[in-house]
């Protein structure tokens, strides 16, 4: 059995490790040269990359479409923030609590859906429903500030207290960078194991996967639980970076949708796609904000953003990373799900709700 680190590059062309090392070095050196604005944008990029990677485990690897991941961000954020505000508990301990609750919530939603054979679009809608349900519940939950919000004491930006996550943006930058890289390594590790192969098999064809002895229920449950728990970690950083939480924004369906986009645009099921997608989309959004601010037209930024999204979807349905990787000679990351389904998939999608039918 290979050591986890070397397996990160297993089966890749030689250029890949060098490119990755270059990327890590450049990201690590960034705070030395970047100003406050650039650093804040890069933090947004890292948040987006991390969340997309965590979501990608469910959708990209196992083919489970969740449009309710804001639920897990919110759980992580509120659990750690409320414990800190009420008892002064370290956010790292709060993270433990948040991750556990989020993983349990994910497991419960998954278990209910998969037991009752809710799949496809219906599963996606169910994830939305649970997130929205929780949002409204949180709006009326006094202990976490309800709809008027939960606020953390503003940090002293001069010193960095890592144990309590109080400090300068650069501290968050490095923590998030470490989290993104750790998730990248985890993704590679998982894809090289039995579970990774099983997830991909389930993503491609559930019936065929069953026939090969794969316990589909347990594998899917593992994907949801893992993805939910990892997503909650980002929620903790979110809470302590922004210092304020409102159910209205943290559990918003818009957030669930936004966090999927880098993974889809970058390349579903790939390891580096979500990171690339995060750079592209955050960069695009910032560039549009700056450009359209001068013209003072409400909504123009969003219009252009939507247009770019539509163009990418039409022209590069597999995402941008596989396309770039092939051109850079980095080797396409492990097989993305087929974006063009064979005609028989029409029948299958209609069977999204199998009702014990023959």
């Amino acid at each position: 059995m290979r050591a986890p680190f070397s397996s990160l590059f297993a089966g890749r062309p030689r250029r890949a490790p060098a490119a990755l090392a270059l990327f890590v070095a450049a990201m690590a050196a960034m705070p030395l040269v970047a100003g406050d604005y650039l650093l804040s944008v890069l933090i947004l990029v890292l948040f987006a990359a991390y969340l997309a990677q965590a979501w990608n485990i469910m959708m990209g690897f196992a083919g489970l479409l969740s449009i309710g991941h804001a639920l897990y961000i919110g759980i992580g954020a509120y659990a750690s923030a409320a414990l800190f505000v009420h008892y002064g508990t370290s956010p790292w301990i709060g993270m433990l609590a948040g991750v556990t609750i989020a993983a349990l919530a994910g497991a419960a939603i998954g278990a209910l859906s998969f037991r009752f054979k809710v799949g496809g679009v219906y599963f996606a809608l169910l994830t939305i429903a649970f997130a929205e349900f929780t949002r409204i519940l949180a709006d009326h939950f006094g202990w976490i500030g309800a709809s008027s919000g939960l606020f953390l004491p503003v940090a002293n930006r001069a010193t960095s207290d890592v144990w309590h996550l109080r400090g300068a943006p650069v501290m968050f930058y490095y923590l998030l960078l470490a989290a993104v890289l750790a998730l990248l390594a985890l993704g590679r590790l998982l894809l090289g194991r039995r579970i990774g192969y099983y997830w991909q098999a389930i993503r491609e064809d559930e019936e065929a996967a069953k026939a090969l002895g794969i316990d589909v229920f347990r594998c899917k449950l593992a994907a949801v639980t893992l993805s939910a728990g990892l997503t909650a970690v980002a929620g903790v950083f979110h809470a302590f970076y922004y210092n304020n939480l409102y159910p209205e924004t943290i559990f918003a369906i818009g957030r669930s949708v936004e966090l999927m986009l880098p993974a889809i645009i970058g390349g579903l099921g790939t390891l580096f796609g979500p990171i690339l997608g995060a750079f592209l989309l955050t960069g695009l959004s910032e560039a549009l904000t700056n450009a359209t601010a001068d013209w003072g037209i409400d909504g123009l930024k969003q219009l252009l953003y939507g247009l770019v999204l539509a163009i990418v979807v039409v022209l590069r349905p597999d995402g941008i990373w596989p396309w770039i990787a092939a051109r850079l000679g980095l080797g396409a990351a492990p097989h993305p799900p087929a974006s063009r389904v064979p005609p028989s998939a029409r029948e299958r999608s209609e069977g999204a709700l199998p009702q014990g039918q023959p």
């Binding site: 009752f116 809710v118 429903a129 409204i136 949708v257 889809i264 579903l268 909504g299 939507g306 539509a310």
Partner: protein, 286 residues
Amino acid sequence: MLLANILVAGLLTGAVYALMALGLSVIFGVIRIVNFAHGEMMVLGMFGAWALNRFLHLDPLWAMPLVAAALFLAGYALQRGLINRFVARPEHMQFLLMLAIAIMLTSAMLMGFGPDARNVQLDYAFDSYDLGGLLVDKVRVLAAGGAVAGAALLWAFFRFARTGKAIRACADNYLGAQVVGLDVKRLYAITFGIGAACVGAAGSLMLLLVDVHPYLATDYTLLAFIIVIVGGLGSLGGALLGGLLIGLSEALSGFFIDPSMKSMFSYGLLILVLLVRPQGLLGRRL
């Protein structure tokens, strides 16, 4: 008596919800595309009726057929030109495309109409009928009447019109429809147009009841989903039943508990139905 008033108001609003949800149900039932831009189309219909009222002084009730016709054409073109390429793509790609369309629609409306809430001034806005102590708002009766008329028209179309029957054949058996020489592309475009017309008509009627602003869209999209799934996808009666149920549930939870919690009960109902009877209350077993 107060309770009765609230129940009736909820039911009448629910009828408009039902027409909106019918549009979604028709599109998903036939084309199998999940229209995540449905709420945006609803708000577009509301703004259309608002503009007709503002500039041509048309009553939203009379604006309804015009708005429906305009949205039919827009929906037809959209399906023909763009969405049809995505019919056989995986769900997440369809979702992304509809999302891009939704974002563009919302921002276009933001640019066109601004972020403020708009309403129509009607001389009968505060009239109500007194039915032996039961007070019913006139606008609600008119809106519900319009919605029922729209739904009846839709039912007649699918039941009696040649094209309507062809579309039904398409929904039942895609391959078979192609084999017998139906122009599936055209039928899909017509179907999307009809779905858009329904939601446009519902938007016009809704303007009688609420103010319109661009950010309403997401709520309507989710509401339409809830109704369609609770009632049963692809079932006309299901959409009607779902709309009335959600209208009732919103009215009751708003009255007894807290208006801000009304949609929580709708989501609760959705979760319950998805888990216990995923084909919906009136849906056929898939």
